[in-house]
């Protein structure tokens, strides 16, 4: 315990020592001020006894001294308060910023151990505690000095009276200590109940639709009544304890004064002490009350602050469990991704990915499909190296991600997360989050690509509209589109969509994917909800047909993973839904085995790939996915639609022919010239967003 005590105290002292000037000034002035204060009653004594009593000393000199002492005390107290306060605030600032730094360095595993509420709690209440402790500390040290000097002078003035005074100190100490041990848990409990009340209110407010929808207002009021009652009981307990100890703490010194009055008066009548001594004594006694009470308080605060310091330091000391790599991802590295026999689990006993292998070539769009908990999101978390695999390797551009610097790796990846988290800032700032110095034009281009420009322009202040906490003033679909624009703007080589268009309606989703197809030329793209709108069942085989036979790749434990699949075969209605399932034989018939990853029996994985097609001029070498052919798997219930077939035929014959991106032109000019030839205008390259190259995209 002693060692631990020293540990936190020393660490804290270390932080304080960074501000030596403040420490020295605060401590020095505190000690000096208290020393002077300890002498003041002596002056009063002299004035009463010698100046007024016998007139042996000069009134001017001694009252002058009294005033001088008061001024000195004033200055020193000012210095102590000011620099002591600064010290506390400086240390608080340092701890807070260090905490922030540590948090942003934490990897996925450490993040999982963290809850937002806890962190913010630490930052507010714990730092506040530390601050108040640091603030009180110089004063306390000064007070101890005051206490000792007062005691010495008192003993010198009258040993007998000192004994009386000292009798008060232990009593005070005892009461303060008792009140601390009894009061602290009571306060703690009451605070916990207050938090519980807040919890119930928070639940009822954020879940108001559910409460009202089920007509459960009664239930919620009941819950509140119950926690409110417990809070009342808890508070009443602290009130009772307070009413017992606080008056006692105030009355005991008063009792000491009464005792001293009796004893001192008695001694004075017998001429053993002078009147001045008597007055000085009672002043000292009054002066002692403060320090003793303060000491008791510092002990209480110290206990809490200690817990606070330890919690804050614990957070600051948290080391990320992954180490940054050393090599930069070369700028010309191919945008390929490979998962090589990857095993990973959030906890050691439950692997989420087990022997997962997947190879994605440059320019491919891959949809990762599977049931809840099958590890789809995990795949998207391993790529930017939020977690490290426990076995196998993840390679980007042929480099193991563990060798690459996080900075260069993440610069190459555009992530659109499942929850499409936005910061409470303007729309513009949110889109430009990954590229803070982006021009308005770039931002708008990205927003257009994500089909967000239209609704953003309709917002009250357009791009300058603030989106509110977590972006909640926007609808889910709008948030997702902004998150998408944010990723597009950074011009990533790999685009990771984690179910990123789930809340967008069908038409818009379709447009997004149309736009993405052009934006993401030459980039990898992984999405839960496979990019295009077309009902999913068909896509895998469509792609499969196009693929040359490949190495037989079965992940461990795959057969079990297929359980949910065959349902499609005998339930035609369900097949319409967007569930990617390929009865294995179809894939095999197509000359390719679909790849399934997974072990724990719930994993389904499909690969969908198509060849990249290279077009471009000059240094803007653009890879762009060829158009998906429309092959209809035989026997599919919704195959026979004349319109479709025609479209499919059209598509198959003509992937894309387009004019090579020429020198930058305005989008409108491009649109006009392309429209003339019945084509669409699109931005050919985002590799140099400042000089977008426009081109026409035509379907022959």
């Amino acid at each position: 315990m002693a060692a631990a005590d020293q540990g936190w105290a020393r660490r804290l002292a270390g932080y304080a020592w960074r501000y030596r000037r403040n420490v020295v000034l605060a401590l020095g002035s505190s000690l000096g001020g208290m020393a002077v204060m300890a002498l003041v009653p002596l002056i009063t004594k002299v004035v009463i006894d010698d100046v007024i009593g016998d007139g042996t000393r000069s009134l001017a000199v001694w009252t002058g001294l009294l005033i001088a002492a008061a001024v000195v005390v004033y200055v020193l107290t000012y210095v102590r308060r000011y620099y002591g306060g600064r010290l506390a605030l400086d240390v608080q600032h340092d701890l807070r910023t260090e905490m922030y730094g540590t948090i942003t360095r934490l990897d996925g595993r450490r993040q999982d151990e963290l809850s937002t509420g806890q962190v913010v709690g630490r930052a507010t209440s714990d730092l506040q505690l530390i601050q108040s402790l640091l603030f009180m500390l110089p004063m306390t040290i000064g007070n101890i000095l005051l206490f000792l000097i007062s005691l010495a002078i008192m003993a010198w003035l009258s040993p007998l009276l000192t004994l009386v005074a000292l009798a008060v100190a232990p009593a005070l100490w005892f009461i303060a200590k008792r009140s601390r041990t009894r009061l602290f848990p009571a306060t703690w409990y009451a605070q916990g109940q207050a938090a519980a009340v807040a919890g119930v209110v928070d639940g009822a407010v954020s879940g108001v639709r559910v409460v009202k929808g089920f007509g459960q207002e009664e239930q919620e009021t009941g819950k509140l009544r119950e926690v409110g009652r417990r809070l009342f009981a808890g508070r009443m307990r602290t009130v009772r304890l307070n009413s017992r100890y606080t008056p006692a703490l105030q009355s005991v010194p008063a009792l000491g004064q009464v005792a001293m009055l009796a004893l001192g008066g008695w001694l004075a009548t017998r001429g053993q002490i002078t009147l001045g001594t008597f007055v000085a004594f009672s002043t000292y006694l009054a002066q002692l009350v403060g320090p003793v009470r303060m000491l008791a308080m510092v002990l209480t605060v110290g206990q809490q602050a200690r817990a606070g310091v330890e919690r804050v330091l614990e957070l600051i000391d948290t080391e990320p469990s992954i180490e940054d790599g050393t090599r930069e991802l070369p700028a010309d590295a191919p945008a390929t991704v490979e998962f090589d026999d990857v095993t990973f689990g959030y906890t050691d006993d439950r692997p989420v990915l087990d022997g997962f292998s997947l190879e994605i070539r440059s320019g491919e769009t891959v949809a990762v499909v599977g049931s809840s908990g099958s590890g789809k999101s995990t795949v998207s978390l391993l790529l930017p190296r939020f977690y490290d695999v426990s076995h196998g390797a993840v390679l980007v551009g042929g480099h193991d991600v563990r060798e690459l610097t996080l900075d260069s790796l993440r610069a190459a990846i555009g992530l659109v997360p499942e929850d499409s988290f936005l910061f409470s800032d303007t729309v513009r700032a949110n889109i430009a989050y990954g590229l803070p110095d982006a021009t308005d034009e770039q931002i708008e281009t990205a927003a257009r690509a994500a089909q967000a420009h239209h609704f953003i322009s309709e917002l009250p202040s357009g791009y300058d509209t603030a989106v509110g906490e977590h972006g909640l003033t926007l609808s889910g679909g709008q948030r997702q589109r902004i998150a998408l624009a944010r990723a597009i703007l950074t011009d990533p080589r790999l685009l990771l969509l984690d179910d990123a268009t789930s809340a967008v309606d069908a038409r818009v989703e379709h447009e997004i994917h149309e736009a993405l197809r052009s934006v993401m030329a030459g980039r990898e793209d992984a999405a839960h909800r496979p990019p295009p709108l077309h009902p999913q069942p068909r896509r895998p085989h469509r792609r499969a047909r196009r693929r040359p036979p490949r190495r037989h790749r079965y992940a461990r434990g795959a057969p079990a993973a297929l359980r949910p699949l065959p349902a499609a075969a005998h339930r035609p209605r369900r097949a319409r839904r967007r569930i990617a399932r390929t009865p294995p034989h179809q894939g095999a018939a197509a000359g390719r085995r679909p790849v399934r990853a997974g072990g724990a029996g719930r994993r389904v994985r499909r690969r969908a790939r198509h060849h990249a097609r290279t077009v471009g001029t000059g240094r803007d070498l653009v890879r762009r996915p060829g158009h998906r052919p429309r092959a209809r798997p035989a026997g599919h219930p919704r195959t026979a639609r004349p319109g479709r077939r025609a479209a499919a035929g059209r598509r198959r014959t003509g992937p894309s022919t387009r004019t090579a991106p020429s020198s930058p032109r305005s989008r409108t000019a491009c649109a006009a010239s392309c429209a003339a030839s019945g084509c669409r205008c699109w931005s050919a390259s985002h590799s140099s967003p400042s000089t977008p190259a426009w081109g026409c995209f035509c379907r022959s």
């Binding site: 003041v40 639709r209 459960q216 069908a506």
Partner: protein, 552 residues
């Protein structure tokens, strides 16, 4: 009050000391002892009294505010931020509590002490009292300016610290994004900047405190010195006793504290009035869905819903666009209707009106032919099953979460409901199964898991009308299949209104209503609408992949 006595006694004793009368010393000591003990008892009693009364008031106030929150319509919640509503219940109530419990008492004690000492000083010696009072204007003026600027500094610091905390909170919840977009450095810089500006504000406040509090001490020392100087002459002249002078010096120590305390109390009073005003505002907030005068109880419903020329607009009447402009719709009992349309077309509004989260601006919504406004709102909602788009779960066990709409359900009923919607297998995989602890808002479950539980929750109440806001939107494909299957079973026998974001959902419904700009533009079965070749057919074609709209 009690504070006065010891010092008054000392005045007596000093006379005794100078006259060497021991009896007076004992008498004074006895009196002093009595006064101290009396004060002790009085203080204890007073603390208990004010504490109890204060807590009672707060308890009642909390319940009252909460009950009012429960009465308020959804519009209030959509207008106000959660954080703000929470502040009413926590910070505001606490400010009131602090003022009631400590502020009032402190104010009383300070005032009495202050005037008591004032009287005592005057009684002992008028001339000396004037010397002491001469310092008062300085103190009052100093205190006024200190309060004024310190309140400003304090408010500034409070604003800035909330910015700092919000930044931290956001950075933690969006940590993945911060990292993925490599904003750790700029983020840290901005955070340090914000933290620094908070520090600055606090240092400024600290400076004010450092100047003011020692200043009060200085004043009291100055007053003491002045009293000594004047008093010394008076003692010499024989117009003042030494004891009186001593008593004076002791009084001066006590004299200045109440002024400081009073200014603090005043601060608390100001905060309390602001809080009280906010709480009053909340309590006076009219509910937008007022209860009927003679509400009709609802035991069960056939489930026939009708909209009769319903118009609705959110917010104030000067809002430019109506969310619904003249909806006429009749949904026979047992039918499943899907509402399709773009964001803002009004499909969610329709469902909200049926749940009576809002009342129509004009026209009426009826269930089984009765205007919803005439029904007992709680009883009516007990007959509803609501599945919101983002499944909200309350903290507790999975079992509690499912039984939310029917607290008295047995374990068997809960399990049956879970099985009915296909949630049972998922729950079985959770640690602890039905006793698995659900974190606040169900954060520790995946979106799919939450949605399944929300469906089971709706199933358990056995609703006559089911309102679904596209529960499948956030589900992965396999779970979606499960949920769809369950939904089919759930909806088959009930009137169901589905807000469909995905056309597959619409395709499975008995009837599809296509909405646009607050109007019904198409209405019919999936096949009818396809044959019609209108909006829906176009949407459907886009959906299934005949993508001519995007090709141009």
């Amino acid at each position: 009050m009690g504070l006065l006595l010891p010092v008054l006694i000392r005045h007596g004793i000093d006379e005794a000391v100078t006259r060497l009368a021991l009896g007076a010393v004992w008498a004074a000591s006895g009196l002093a002892l009595l006064s101290v003990l009396a004060q002790w008892v009085a203080q204890t009693a007073e603390m208990r009294m004010t504490g109890r009364t204060g807590e009672r008031v707060l308890y009642v106030l909390r319940l009252k505010i909460f009950a009012q929150l429960q009465r308020l319509g959804l519009d209030y919640y959509e207008r106000e931020l959660t954080g703000r509503i929470m502040t009413r219940m926590t910070t505001d109530v606490d400010a009131l509590s602090t003022f009631l419990q400590t502020g009032l008492v402190t104010a009383f004690v300070s005032l009495v002490t202050f005037f008591g000492i004032m009287v005592a000083l005057l009684v002992i010696d008028v001339q000396l009292a004037l010397v002491v009072f001469a310092t008062l204007p300085v103190l009052v003026i100093g205190t006024y300016f200190f309060r004024k600027s310190s309140v400003r500094a304090y408010e500034l610091a409070r604003d800035r610290v909330s910015v700092v905390n919000a930044d931290l909170q956001e950075s933690v919840s969006g940590l993945r994004i911060v990292q993925a977009f490599r904003r750790e450095h700029t983020g840290a810089e901005r955070f340090a900047e914000r933290s620094d500006s908070y520090r600055e504000a606090r240092v400024r406040g600290q400076w004010l405190i450092s100047v003011y509090f020692p200043f009060v001490q200085l004043l009291s020392s100055a007053a003491a010195a002045a009293v000594l100087i004047v008093g010394a002459g008076r003692v010499e002249a024989g117009t003042l006793t030494t004891g009186a002078l001593v008593a004076y010096l002791l009084y001066i120590d006590l004299f200045f504290a109440p002024v400081q305390q009073l200014s603090q109390v005043f601060d608390g009073y100001q905060q309390a009035t602001v809080s009280l005003r906010r709480i009053q505002e909340l309590l006076r907030e009219p509910t937008s869905t007022a209860a009927a005068e003679r509400p009709k109880d609802v035991l069960s419903l056939r489930g026939e819903i009708a909209f009769e020329d319903v118009r609705f607009q959110y917010g104030a009447a000067d809002e430019p666009e109506e969310a619904l402009s003249g909806i006429d719709l009749r949904i026979p009992a047992g039918q499943t209707v899907a509402f399709v349309g773009e964001t803002g077309a009004g499909k969610s509004t329709v469902v909200k009106l049926v749940a009576r989260f809002y009342d129509p601006t004009s026209g009426r919504v009826t269930a089984d032919g009765t205007d919803l406004r005439d029904l007992d709102i709680t009883a009516y909602r007990h007959r509803l099953g609501v599945v919101p788009q983002e499944a909200y779960l309350f903290a507790g066990t999975v079992r509690d979460a499912i039984a939310y709409g029917r607290r008295d359900a047995t374990d068997a009923e809960v399990e049956a409901a879970a099985r009915a919607v296909g949630a049972h297998d998922m729950i079985a995989t959770l640690e602890g199964g039905y006793l698995h602890e659900v974190a606040e808002r169900g954060r520790n479950l995946s979106a799919g898991q939450r949605q399944l539980i929300a469906l089971a929750r709706a199933e358990l109440v056995g609703p006559d009308i089911l309102l679904l806001d596209e529960p499948t939107a956030a589900l992965d494909l396999a779970t979606e299949a499960q949920v769809n299957q369950a939904t089919d079973r759930l909806t088959g026998r009930r009137t169901t209104l589905v807000v469909a974001h995905r056309l597959t959902t619409a395709a499975r419904a008995d009837r599809v209503v296509v909405m646009d700009h607050g109007r019904v533009v198409e209405d019919g079965t999936h096949d009818e609408l396809l044959a019609l070749g209108g909006t829906y057919a176009r949407l459907w074609r886009t959906f299934v992949g005949e993508d001519e709209p995007a090709a141009v």
